[in-house]
């Protein structure tokens, strides 16, 4: 009798262990599946967003819209054939004769302004102030000669 009981307990324990392991495994699988589904949904959602953004990009870049905006905001116009040069010879020569004009010929240089006030040049032999008497004398002298 004792023998049988021991064996029964052992079997029960084994069964419970097996059952709990099975439950554990199935829980793991379910959890992983849920994660996978969530990630797949995320990916799909991202893909949908990308599609919407691409559509918006295509719409915003449609040539008609760009043309309207360019007209409105840019000061550029489509090039016409006259704007395009095929080779170097069509470009006007760079070295043209310099224009003789004082405005253009001015070299750009700065000389520092002297700090001291320029002194007036000394006047040599300053003329003596002639008095009226001297003048009269001179006149009378000339007149007498």
């Amino acid at each position: 009798m004792k023998k049988i009981r021991l064996r029964t307990v052992f079997i029960y324990a084994l069964a419970v262990l097996a059952g709990s392991m099975l439950l554990q495994t199935s829980q793991n699988v379910q959890q992983s599946e849920a994660e996978l589904a969530a990630i797949t949904a995320d990916v799909n959602h991202e893909n949908d967003s990308i599609r919407i953004l691409k559509t918006e990009w295509a719409f915003l870049n449609s040539p008609g819209r760009l043309e309207t905006l360019a007209r409105q905001y840019l000061k550029l116009s489509p090039p016409d054939p006259g704007h395009i040069a095929n080779d170097g010879t069509e470009i006007p020569a760079k070295t043209e004769p310099p224009v003789e004009s004082p405005m253009q010929a001015q070299p750009v240089s700065f000389t520092p302004v002297p700090s001291a006030k320029p002194t007036p040049p000394p006047i040599k032999n300053p003329p003596k102030e002639k008095s009226l008497d001297d003048l009269l004398k001179q006149v009378s002298k000339e007149g007498s000669e």
């Binding site: 049988i4 069964a15 059952g19 599609r51 919407i52 295509a58 090039p79 095929n86």
Partner: protein, 572 residues
């Protein structure tokens, strides 16, 4: 249990063989009991698992998130249609539709008020009435924008939910409407490429077309201007790669926006490029002249007497730009003399001219990737008078697209090209196969010269774009009205090719019903309507495709050697 106790009591007494058989029976009973216990334990565990661990609140089952997951798993989305550079022409996006479950709405009045604020067209009173009526499903709005959806989510109302549906969107709007076509709500292609490639698109395989949206836009813009300027009813335009037959742009005006409501009976739906057939007039002189040069070994100085109209029964063939003198081949072509062209046709002969038109694919329905293709109207039976009129493009009606392909086949070096819309890298390798030759190299060269002459000296002077050496031919046809032709209902066209020494592109524009204006000095002919439009398209194309201009030089110009055969009148 009584049984077990009895068995135990008896067990003490029993010995020998009988005792072992009783043990056996008891063991079996224990085993069976254990089996049942395990079975019930398993069921109990499973019940806990299903209800407690995996269970979701009932309210969440109808939630949009669950729906979205389900929708994402099911099926492939309808694939994109792109142009040759990968620009989206048609795509599918997932849009949310809003619905409500009145059972779950916590505060119907507040919900209705908020909805009226987000969507001005959902009236407060009406929405509230529908919420209070009960039921489990109230549809509120189709195709919300992401912003609107965000606003609704911000309300946090548990009774509002979204249903996700695929919606076909055409980002370029009306620009490519006739070729891309449109799909119905059931994801079923109903016109254009959407229809003919329906199966492939449903399998998720994208389709790239030969169209280039930039050229398409330039062509449409210039045609629109021509139609506006001349108060015309509509028009058709094509830009074709003459070497491969790729349709780089195809515009039929008026057109429609495939994103909006589609009225299938509207004349806007009509594809004038590939479905409409028209008597295109003088542009056909390219074919009759090529046939004449191919069959007659004559110099360009061969002449035709254009002084008298040709009379055949009730028909009289007159010249529109009357010169009233004897004309050489270049003169017939550049002044677009019907009499001269009819004489060339007569010289070629009915059978040979008809065969030549057959070879160019002008008399049979062309093969194209869409189902909107018109069958040319060819005279039946084909009499001599039909040969004369067909030489200048009357009495034979073709689609503008096959006419452009025929012109391409002549100017590209004489190799027949088939127009096509779906990008196919292999097609380019097959081009220029000698077995596809329709005219000789000499005729090709002469035709290029003649086409250039029309632009430098003749009726197509307004098609000239300095630097790009355009060649072409004008066409002005009177449209049939009743049994005769109506002189005020014109079909003015111009077919241009450039660069003319070795053409790469053919541009054809035909404008339906242009009215003369003061600016055009009372003219509404191909030279005044079609030619300037083609010139503007060429200038735009050059900028878009980065084609370098070359300096104009009158002496080396292709048409220079023909000028000796031309007497220019009115220059003195």
């Amino acid at each position: 249990m009584i049984f077990l106790k009895q068995a135990r009591r008896h067990a003490i007494k029993l010995i020998g063989e009988k005792s072992s058989s009783l043990d056996l029976a008891r063991g079996r009973l224990v085993l069976m009991g254990a089996c049942f216990i395990f079975a019930y334990m398993f069921l109990a565990a499973r019940a806990v698992d299903l209800m407690v661990i995996q269970g979701k609140p009932a309210a969440l089952v109808d939630n949009g998130v669950v729906q979205e997951e389900a929708a994402a798993i099911s099926g492939v989305t309808r694939a994109d249609i792109t142009d040759r550079n990968g620009e989206l022409l048609a795509t599918t996006i997932k849009t949310a539709s809003l619905y409500a479950d009145p059972h779950l709405i916590s505060d119907a009045e507040k919900a209705a008020e908020n909805l009226a604020r987000i969507f001005p067209d959902l009236e407060y009173g009406e929405t509230l009435r529908r919420f209070q009526k009960g039921g489990r499903f109230v549809h509120l709005k189709y195709s919300l924008t992401p912003q609107e959806q965000h606003e609704v989510l911000k309300l946090g109302e548990p009774g509002l939910a979204f249903k996700y549906e695929d919606r076909r969107v055409y980002p370029q709007g009306a620009l490519t409407s006739h070729f891309v076509g449109y799909a119905g709500t059931g994801s079923e292609g109903l016109a254009g490429i959407e229809k003919s490639f329906n199966q492939l698109l449903l399998e998720g395989k994208p389709v790239a077309l030969t169209l280039d949206v930039r050229l398409q836009h330039a062509l449409r813009r210039e045609m629109d201007k021509a139609i506006d300027d001349f108060h015309a009813a509509g028009g058709a335009g094509i830009i074709m790669n003459v070497n491969t037959g790729e349709v780089l742009a195809g515009v039929s005006l008026p057109d429609f926006d495939p994103n909006g409501a589609i009225d299938e009976t509207s004349r806007k739906m009509f594809n004038r490029v590939s479905l409409g057939t028209y008597e295109l007039g003088s542009v056909f002189k390219i074919f009759s002249t090529a046939a004449f040069l191919e069959t007659h070994n004559v110099g360009m100085n061969a002449s035709f007497d254009a002084r008298e109209p040709i009379k055949r029964g009730r028909f009289t063939i007159n010249d529109y730009h009357a010169e009233d003198r004897i004309l050489t081949i270049p003169e017939v072509f550049m002044y677009s003399s019907n009499i001269g062209a009819a004489m060339m046709g007569q010289a070629v002969g009915t059978d040979r001219l008809k065969d030549f038109y057959d070879d160019l694919g002008l008399t049979e329905k062309m093969n194209l990737e869409i189902s909107e293709v018109g069958k040319p109207q060819v005279p039946h039976p084909w009499r001599e008078i039909n040969t004369l009129t067909a030489s200048y493009g009357h009495g034979i009606a073709t689609t503008p697209l096959q006419m452009t392909a025929a012109v391409s086949s002549i100017v590209n070096g004489g190799y027949l090209v088939a127009p096509h819309l779906v990008l196919n890298k292999k097609a380019e390798e097959n081009a220029q196969d000698e077995s596809l030759r329709v005219v000789s190299a000499q005729t090709v060269h002469r035709m290029r010269q003649l086409l250039r002459l029309v632009v430098t000296e003749g009726t197509g002077e307004k098609a000239d774009v300095p630097g790009y050496r355009v060649g072409g031919k004008t066409g002005t046809a009177e449209q049939q009205s009743g049994r005769g032709y109506d002189q005020s209902q014109l079909l003015s066209s111009f077919v241009g090719v450039f660069p003319v020494e070795k053409p790469e592109y053919a541009i054809f524009i035909v404008i339906d019903g242009p009215k003369p204006t003061k600016k055009s000095f009372g003219y509404a002919t191909g030279g005044w309507v079609g030619a300037p439009a083609v010139a503007r398209v060429v200038a735009s194309m050059a900028a878009i495709l980065g084609i370098k201009p070359e300096k104009a030089n009158e002496e080396t110009d292709l048409s220079a050697s023909l000028k000796q055969y031309v007497t220019v009148k009115g220059h003195d």
